[in-house]
């Protein structure tokens, strides 16, 4: 068909359509070539674990009047880095960049409340679930308090780090006491300080601590985290009961149970025990130890130094 046979409208669109077709074809070829190269030589590695500028003050200068948005970029990077590392299947997870990323975020935006509070949780969480660096968590929260001296929550969080991760109940109590002295701090921080000093490490006081945090959380994520900790404490109570049953079994029969079925047959259990998330508990037949399964969302449970209830 010649050009003259085409309708005027089609004739008018013909060059545009030809350009569009050429573009689609060329982009398609480029994609195919890229895929062919990746199949032959492997995919390029994303340079996620690189932090080109580590100095917050330098970035602060470079950012001119765009510090806040750059802080957001670093915050997103910190979350991606933490989440990516936590979820990675690697046996040698490294959280080396977590603190520098959070430090830069909070230098660029010293008011970034969540970066201090979440960041401290990510840093303090024991390895491999987190960086296992409660010292850096404390440093980050102290930096936050220097920037925002009205934020009693940061001092409370430092108390938590000392209580939960470092098991230094004297220091925890003193931070709760300091937090209670900040204008606007809730009344219960003073009594929390006293309870921590007298009953630190007691699981009931731990539960009280997380309940208070849950009730005063200014964010859904902090609330969910407190709920998760409270569920872990429930699981620890259940594990104590199961260990008691195992001990009873060993006393009665002079040997350790080989499975939950043995305990059921001995009338010490009714059915296979499940943790609060519905995952079966694990029984080690050689030692008689009871733990949450590695597949459980509650794994790993926090250290319970005194094992009291």
């Amino acid at each position: 068909m010649s050009d003259e046979d085409l309708k005027p409208a089609v004739r008018e669109w013909k060059p545009t359509l030809a350009v569009a077709a050429a573009l689609v074809a060329l982009v398609g070829i480029a994609l195919a070539l890229q895929q062919a190269r990746e199949r032959a030589y492997g995919e390029p590695q994303a340079a996620d674990d690189v932090l080109y500028v580590r100095s917050g003050p330098t970035l602060e200068k470079i950012a001119l009047s765009y510090k806040a948005i750059l802080a957001d970029v670093y915050w997103i990077r910190a979350i991606q880095y933490y989440g990516g590392t936590k979820r990675s299947a690697s046996s040698e997870k490294r959280y080396d960049l977590l603190y520098p990323l959070l430090d830069i975020t909070t230098t660029l935006d010293p008011f970034f409340n969540i970066a201090y509070r979440f960041g401290a949780i990510f840093l303090a969480e024991s390895y491999p679930g987190g960086a296992g660096r409660p010292d850096l968590a404390v440093a980050l929260l102290e930096k936050g308090f220097r920037a925002r001296p009205e934020k009693w929550e940061y001092l409370q969080d430092i108390g938590f780090v000392y209580y939960w991760w470092l098991h230094d109940y004297g220091k925890a109590a003193s931070w709760f006491e300091k937090a209670s002295g900040v204008a606007g701090a809730p009344w219960w921080l003073k009594s929390l300080a006293a309870v921590t000093l007298t009953q630190g490490g007691d699981r009931r006081s731990s539960r009280l601590l997380w309940q208070q945090l849950r009730e005063t959380a200014d964010n859904d994520w902090l609330r969910t985290n407190a709920d998760w900790r409270l569920t872990q404490l429930d699981a620890m109570d259940q594990i104590d009961e199961l260990r008691f049953a195992v001990r009873q079994y060993a006393q009665r029969l002079g040997r350790l149970p080989q499975s939950w079925v043995d305990l059921e047959r001995a009338g010490l259990l009714r059915g296979r025990p499940l943790d609060p998330t519905g995952t079966p508990y694990e029984l080690d037949p050689t030692t008689g130890n009871v733990t949450v399964a590695r597949t459980s969302p509650l794994f790993p449970l926090p250290t319970d130094p005194q094992g009291q209830r």
Partner: protein, 268 residues
């Protein structure tokens, strides 16, 4: 005033004709795309980041308009030789400079006003769709009127940048004017270091020169209250007034200098 107004209107019309306001489309797309993506990435900080993004984009887009249009305000008329016909009319050179300046400032004002409206619309959507448990955690309400304080200072800062660009464009090429304006914009954000230069140099003369430069160069850092506003920190009315007044006085000085240079320029 009657001669300044047509010049200003013409600058605005020309900006619209040059599709300067197309940047608003990019702004809208950026905000909408960011709103969608951020909820997946930011651990509940969507509203804070949308505010940061909206304010930063308003400032950045405004900066590019101020610089790239500002440097061409005079140069284009000279290049097109339309300056001859303009100056042959009963139009004083200083009125021409002032008209050009006000026209671009009006363009920036329209641009910022539309961006502010778009940002508030996106934030209204967030306020409407977010459950109370989430909105309780916001440090400032989504539709916080205090955001206008940040927009106001961004506007004064852009007015100042426009004046700098126009000042340079009265005696240098567009490329050099752009480089000098961006340079001053950069210096303006960290010239506070110059004030305490004596702590890094031993020479009292160098320290004195640095201090003079500190007062002479535009200080743009105080115009940035974006972070305080987004976090719901109060910005004192006195601070806003003093900073704006500083900006306006500096603009006045730049326009006087620009008009003086332009008045002495020989177009033969």
């Amino acid at each position: 005033m009657s001669v300044i107004f047509p010049v200003a209107v013409n600058v605005f019309r020309e900006s619209v004709r040059d599709k300067v306001l197309y940047n608003l489309v990019f702004f809208a797309v950026l905000l909408i795309a960011a709103s969608y993506l951020l909820s997946q990435l930011t651990a509940g900080q969507d509203v804070k980041i949308i505010k940061d993004l909206g304010l930063a984009a308003s400032s950045l887009f405004g900066l590019f308009i101020a610089v790239f249009i500002g440097i061409g305000l005079v140069w284009k008329e000279v290049e097109r030789r339309s300056i001859y016909s303009l100056l042959s009319k009963p139009l004083r050179r200083r009125d021409f400079i002032l008209g050009k300046y006000l026209g671009l400032v009006f363009t920036l004002l329209v641009n910022l006003a539309i961006m502010a409206t778009a940002l508030y619309l996106v934030l209204a959507y967030y306020a409407w769709t977010s459950p109370e448990s989430l909105s309780r955690a916001w440090e400032a309400p989504a539709m916080d009127p205090a955001l206008l304080e940040a927009f106001a200072l961004i506007f004064v800062e852009l007015m100042l940048v426009t004046a700098i660009a126009l000042f340079f464009s009265t005696f240098s090429s567009p490329l050099l004017s752009a480089a000098l304006t961006f340079g001053l914009f950069g210096i303006g954000h960290f010239n506070a270091d110059l004030k305490h230069f004596e702590s890094v140099v031993a020479s009292p003369v160098a320290a004195w020169v640095a201090r003079v430069l500190y007062y002479l160069l535009p200080n743009l850092a105080p115009f940035d209250v974006k972070s305080q506003v987004v976090h719901g920190q109060p910005v004192a009315a006195g601070y806003l007034l003093l900073t704006s007044a500083y900006g306006l006085v500096y603009i006045g000085a730049l326009l006087v200098a620009a008009a003086a240079i332009f008045s002495r320029r020989d177009f033969k």
